[in-house]
C-alpha cells in the first residue's frame, strides 16, 4: 500500500514509513535519544529529498519531545531557567542555521551540507561513545569505580554574566548555556535533529549539571527549537511534509514505549556500545556515498531561484 507525500511529492510504501518510525522509536526509547540523527539519514536513503527529510524530522521531534518532557516535568526534572537560556541560544542558532540552509539550497549545495554535517558529527559522537562505553565495560569488569567530583572548575567558570540555577545547583556564566543552545539550534536547522546527542554531554561535562535534570531540560529546549525550525523551514523552503511527519509520529511513539521497557532490561554500557556502533555504521554509509563515483554526475534541480 502506497501513500503520496504531498510536499516530498513522491509515493512511498506506507508500511515502510511506519516500520521505520517504529524501529527508530524503539531505539530512541531503549537508548533515551531523540532518534533524529538516525531518522533523517534513513529518510534520505529511501529517496525523500534531503531538505524535506530535515524539515519534517524537526516537526516529528517536536512531538516526541513533548511526550518526553511531560514525563520528566511530572517528576520535577526540568530546570526551566536553564532551559530558557538554552532556548534563547537555540532560537538564535536555528535562525542562523535555516538562513545557511536556504542560501545553500539555492546554490545547490544543501545536500552536501547535510551529508557532511552528518559524517562529521556522527563520526565524532559515535567514536566518543564507543570508546567511553568500552572503557566503562572494562572498568565494570575490574570492579573499580572511580569517584568523580561534583563538577570541575575550568576557565569557563571565569566568564561574565553569572547566573544562579537553583535546580541544577550551579552558579555559572549565562554565556555557556547560551552558546551551547546556539550550536544545537544550528545543528537542528541543518541536520533535522533535536541535538540531544550534543547537548546532553555538553550539559553534563561542560556545564556540570546533575544528570537527573539534564534529559528533561534538554527536551524542554528541543521542543521549542525544533518548533522554531519547523516554522522557519515552512516559511523559507516549504519543505515540511505533515503527512510524513504524522506517519512517523504515530509509529515512533509506539516504538518508543516498547523500547523504554526493553531498555531497562539491558545493561547500560552494552546498550551504549550498540548505539555507538549503529551511529558509526550510518556515518560510514554517508561517507561512502560522498566518496564513491555517483551513477550519474549530473542532477536536476528546480530553476528560477
Amino acid at each position: 500500500m502506497t501513500v503520496y507525500l504531498p510536499i516530498a511529492e513522491i509515493s512511498v510504501n506506507l508500511f515502510l514509513i511506519l516500520g521505520m518510525g517504529g524501529a527508530i522509536g524503539l531505539l530512541s526509547g531503549m537508548f533515551g535519544v531523540g532518534g533524529g540523527f538516525l531518522m533523517t539519514p534513513l529518510l534520505i536513503f529511501i529517496g525523500i529529498p534531503p531538505a524535506v527529510a530535515v524539515a519534517t524530522e524537526a516537526n516529528q521531534i517536536t512531538a516526541a519531545s513533548v511526550s518526553g518532557v511531560l514525563a520528566h516535568w511530572r517528576r520535577g526534572n526540568v530546570d526551566f531557567k536553564m532551559g530558557t537560556i538554552l532556548l534563547v541560544g537555540g532560537i538564535l542558532g536555528s535562525i542562523l542555521g535555516t538562513w545557511i540552509f536556504t542560501v545553500l539550497k539555492a546554490m545547490g549545495q544543501v545536500d552536501l551540507l547535510i551529508s557532511l554535517s552528518y559524517v562529521i558529527f556522527l563520526g565524532i559522537i559515535g567514536s566518543l561513545m564507543f570508546i567511553e562505553s568500552v572503557n566503562a565495560m572494562i572498568k565494570s569488569r575490574k570492579g573499580s569505580v572511580a569517584r568523580k567530583k561534583l563538577h570541575q572548575h575550568y576557565w569557563i567558570h571565569g566568564l561574565p554574566f553569572k547566573m544562579r540555577f537553583r535546580k541544577s545547583k550551579l552558579y555559572i556564566s549565562a554565556l555557556m548555556p547560551l552558546s551551547i543552545g546556539a550550536l544545537v539550534g544550528i545543528l537542528s536547522a541543518i541536520m533535522g535533529v533535536g541535538g540531544g546527542f550534543v547537548m546532553v554531554p555538553a550539559m553534563i561535562y561542560l556545564l556540570g549539571m546533575p544528570t537527573s535534570v539534564v534529559i528533561g531540560t534538554s527536551l524542554f529546549q528541543i521542543i521549542f527549537v525544533t518548533a522554531n525550525v519547523t516554522l522557519l523551514h515552512a516559511i523559507n523552503t516549504q519543505t515540511v511534509d505533515v503527512m510524513l511527519a504524522l506517519l512517523l509520529m504515530s509509529s515512533s511513539v509506539v516504538g518508543a514505549q516498547i523500547g523504554t521497557r526493553f531498555g531497562t532490561k539491558l545493561r547500560g554500557e552494552q546498550l551504549r556500545s550498540l548505539l555507538a556502533l549503529l551511529v558509526l555504521i550510518v556515518c560510514v554509509k554517508l561517507a561512502f556515498d560522498l566518496v564513491i563515483t555517483p551513477d550519474d554526475l549530473y542532477s536536476l534541480g528546480e530553476g528560477g531561484q
Binding site: 504531498p6 516549504q238 505533515v242 503527512m243 554526475l297
Partner: protein, 257 residues
C-alpha cells in the same frame, strides 16, 4: 504564467502544422479525429500512476497499403530546471558547474506506429520537436558547453519515467482506427498538459490535432500542498500544533501512573 505561454506556443505550433498540412491537401478536411480516455487525472494520496488511452480515426482518401503514420505526443507543463554537474573536490563529489534551462517540459511522452525517423524527414521532426532528443532546451545564459547538460535532462527524466519514446506503441485497428496508451507514473508533475496527434503520409504532415489534459492533485494531498505554499507561516504553525497535540496524546495514552 509560463503554462499559459507554453500552451499558446503549442497551439501556435499545431496551427502552423495544420496550415502546412492544408496547403497541399486541402481536400482532406478532417484527416484526424481524436480523443483521450480522460481529460482529467486526479493525483490523490493513494495515486500509484495510471494509463491514458489515446485514440482516434484517420480519414485518408488514397487507396493502397500505406494508410499513413500516427504520432501521439503528451507534453507536461514547462518548468525552469537547473542541471548541476558533480566533480571530485578533495576526494568527495561536489556539485560544481550548473546550467539553468528555461521552459523544459516536465513530462514528455511520444508514441508512434513505427520509428519516427522512418515516418518524417529530420527537419520536420526537429521543427515539431518530436522525440525527447529534439526538444532543444534553451539555456538561460547561452553557453557553449551546455550539450552534456541537455543530455542529462533527457537521461534523468527518462530514468524517472517522465520522458518516454515508444516507437511501436500506436496500434491500428483496421484501416482507420488507431489507439495507444501512455503511462502516467506516480511521480507525474501536476499542471496543464497537452496531447498532440500528428498524421503523416509519405513523410508529409497531413493533419494535426491537440487536446488539453489536466493533471491535478486532489483530496487531502492537494489541500496540504496548497496550504503549505499559499500560507507558509500558518502551515508551519499548524504543523507545530499537530506535533504538540500528538506528543501530548502519546504521553496521555501511555502514562503509567
Amino acid at each position: 504564467m509560463t503554462s499559459t505561454a507554453s500552451q499558446l506556443a503549442t497551439a501556435l505550433a499545431v496551427l502552423y502544422a495544420l496550415t502546412l498540412a492544408w496547403v497541399p491537401h486541402s481536400q482532406a478536411q478532417s484527416a484526424l479525429v481524436t480523443d483521450i480516455s480522460s481529460h482529467l487525472v486526479s493525483v490523490t494520496s493513494d495515486f500509484t500512476g495510471t494509463e491514458l488511452l489515446l485514440f482516434g480515426a484517420i480519414n485518408v482518401d488514397d487507396e493502397g497499403p500505406n494508410r499513413g503514420d500516427v504520432l501521439v505526443v503528451v507534453r507536461g507543463p514547462e518548468e525552469d530546471v537547473v542541471v548541476r554537474r558533480k566533480d571530485r573536490v578533495a576526494g568527495i563529489w561536489v556539485n560544481t558547474e550548473a546550467v539553468e534551462f528555461a521552459r523544459v517540459p516536465s513530462f514528455y511522452a511520444l508514441a508512434s506506429n513505427r520509428p519516427v525517423e522512418e515516418i518524417a524527414p529530420p527537419d520536420v521532426l526537429n521543427r515539431l520537436r518530436i522525440g525527447p532528443s529534439r526538444l532543444r532546451f534553451r539555456a538561460a545564459e547561452p553557453e557553449q558547453m551546455s550539450l552534456p547538460f541537455e543530455e542529462a535532462i533527457v537521461r534523468q527524466k527518462s530514468r524517472a519515467n517522465l520522458y518516454s519514446d515508444q516507437e511501436t506503441a500506436v496500434y491500428f485497428l483496421g484501416d482507420t482506427l488507431f489507439r495507444t496508451t501512455i503511462v502516467i507514473p506516480a511521480n507525474v508533475p501536476v499542471g496543464d498538459y497537452i496531447a498532440e496527434f500528428y498524421l503523416f503520409k509519405d513523410g508529409e504532415l497531413l493533419g494535426a490535432q491537440s487536446s488539453p489534459l489536466f493533471i491535478k492533485k486532489s483530496g487531502l494531498g492537494r489541500r496540504i500542498y496548497d496550504f503549505a505554499y499559499d500560507y507558509p507561516a500558518l502551515y508551519g504553525i499548524a504543523a507545530i500544533i499537530v506535533a504538540l497535540f500528538a506528543g501530548w496524546l502519546a504521553s496521555a495514552i501511555f502514562r503509567k501512573d
